[in-house]
Symmetry: C2
Subunit: 329 residues, 2 copies
């Protein structure tokens, strides 16, 4: 049996070790867009592990998420990671024609296809005409493309009027200035938010769907009671309420991203986009750069269909920056 | 918005506090069938929280589960709790006629109904004739009824021959002598196993489906990559490999169950069944016993349709046994 899907993803250093058996340990993992400086987790009470998560804890988490995202708590459904929401949405709709703004995070198209829908890849919103469901990752992964909020809202309203749905995956929106649609959800619009990337806690598995209350309830029902684990409830609630940490992290990661852009530029790369948590660049010899990095124990994300393109997550500390700098020059 | 479902469950002390505002703290929660003496968790590395769970970690967990359940690793799909598997199975089948051996854990019938299937409650396997899917909780919750493995296997084979499916939920099988079907999965048979109840770690969210490899893969795909959180991968793997803890816990909980039966008997209750993790008893004045316990800060599980019936989880320690004993006499 495989591990659930064959879509290539970053974050698996065992794959890096197989590719570069001589790569020195410890590896520098730049293959994801996860904040390398995690939220300082408060100590967990034993009951977070031992007890069934309570309704009150879930309510507190949803309230904290609503506050952080500027939304109504009644529109928030919590899940063990955004990925499972991506898998769930296609099962809540009758067979639909689905447009995915592409290229983008590959799990969206895969999940709608698995759900029995007809999926087309489109380059922009105008290509999605006639579709019942439109999926936009905003800002986009891996190129950081931003679709203006006004265009998305117009699309959502048009879709909502005829029973359609716009899915906006704001996985990388927390640190970006672009307008979130979390406060605008209603008929025809669902927004996904990821917790683990911003807070550097991808192992915790926590994500949210924001939708009109009836759809938010259907999503929560599809996941069943106790979908979010005790540690995620406790840490998520505290972290989402911590505005000062988020503001400081936003500034620090933006500075990191600018530094990474300069480093990539010195190495002859052309940054084509990204967010404060990852930078995507084209190189004349992408495979060569990927190999030089790998042989030095630095794992970045490559793309099968675009060999010149590499995506860089942010180094975690001075040591990692130094190792990257020695190769990118 | 509600909390995902309106089915009543144990384990929510806030509900107990609302029912008995004068109940003394700390509450004794006997409303679940969760082992009150949890597995002593090893210290978690920070990476369990910060990193995306890796394919190798998932493989190690599946191997440990296969070992613990006496099954082939290729038949094991891991999930963030059994509940989400109960929600997922109905979505993997075309509209079916589903028989649920009842009364039992209510989420099975609810999930198949939500999935668009036609669900009937039946008293035994003979009542399930003509159905495509049969669901049996074995041993049953709340009455501990055990359907012999041979009868289940015969049913599974008959269903498998015509594309049907027997779902055996072995949530409470770990500590019981009854034969598990984990080693027998194949066409027509899927088995669910719960981690949190046995190991007293319900907040961790971990459960397994065992099925023929093609179905196990479909289940894993429906949950998507990284379905199981890092803490659950790390703790689950260690705990499932710890045979000596499990054997000691099995003996200790069996002794607890016997002690609880004696206590219930002294209070005039008639134990109608259960497992080593909970005992179910009928009382002449069930509501009165429920109220006396609640007013003393002890929360047990009652059943709306059967007011004479109460389910008791196991007290955790000497103090909890004493408090229970003061009421049950």
């Amino acid at each position: 049996m495989g591990e659930g899907t064959r879509i290539a993803h970053g974050g698996d250093l065992d794959a890096a070790r197989r590719l570069f058996p001589a790569g020195p340990e410890p590896w520098v993992d730049l293959s994801t867009g996860i904040n390398p400086v995690p939220y300082p987790c408060p100590p967990l009470e034993a009951s977070a592990f031992t007890r069934l998560p309570s309704a009150a804890e879930l309510t507190a988490l949803r309230n904290a998420a609503a506050d952080a995202y500027g939304a109504d708590p009644a529109t928030v459904a919590a899940a063990p990671g955004t990925q499972i929401l991506i898998e769930t949405l296609p099962r809540l709709r009758a067979r639909s024609r689905v447009a995915v703004l592409s290229p983008t995070y590959a799990e969206h198209a895969a999940a709608w296809t698995r759900g029995g829908h007809h999926v087309v890849a489109v380059a922009d919103l105008s290509g999605a005409e006639g579709c019942d469901v439109v999926v936009v990752v905003n800002p986009n992964n891996p190129d950081g493309r931003i679709v203006p909020a006004g265009d998305l809202l117009a699309t959502a309203h048009a879709l909502g009027r005829r029973g359609g749905l716009l899915v906006v995956d704001e996985a990388f929106a927390d640190f970006e200035p672009a307008g979130s649609l979390c406060a605008e959800v209603g008929p025809g619009l669902v927004v996904l938010r990821s917790f683990g990337k911003t807070y550097g806690l991808a192992g915790l598995r926590l994500g949210f769907a924001l939708a009109e209350p009836a759809l938010a309830l259907r999503i929560a029902e599809a996941l069943g009671p106790w979908a979010v684990a005790g540690p995620a409830l406790a840490i998520g609630r505290t972290a989402l309420r911590d505005r000062s940490w988020r503001e400081a992290a936003r500034a620090a990661r933006a500075a990191d991203a600018a530094r990474l852009d300069r480093m990539i530029g010195r190495a002859g790369g052309v940054v084509v986009g990204g967010t404060s948590l990852f930078r995507t660049a084209d190189f004349e010899d992408g495979p060569g750069v990927f190999r030089r990095l790998g042989e030095a124990g630095i794992y970045v994300r490559r793309f099968e269909a675009m060999p010149h393109r590499l995506r860089f997550g942010l180094p975690a500390d001075r040591g990692e920056w130094c190792r990257l700098s020695r190769i990118l020059r």
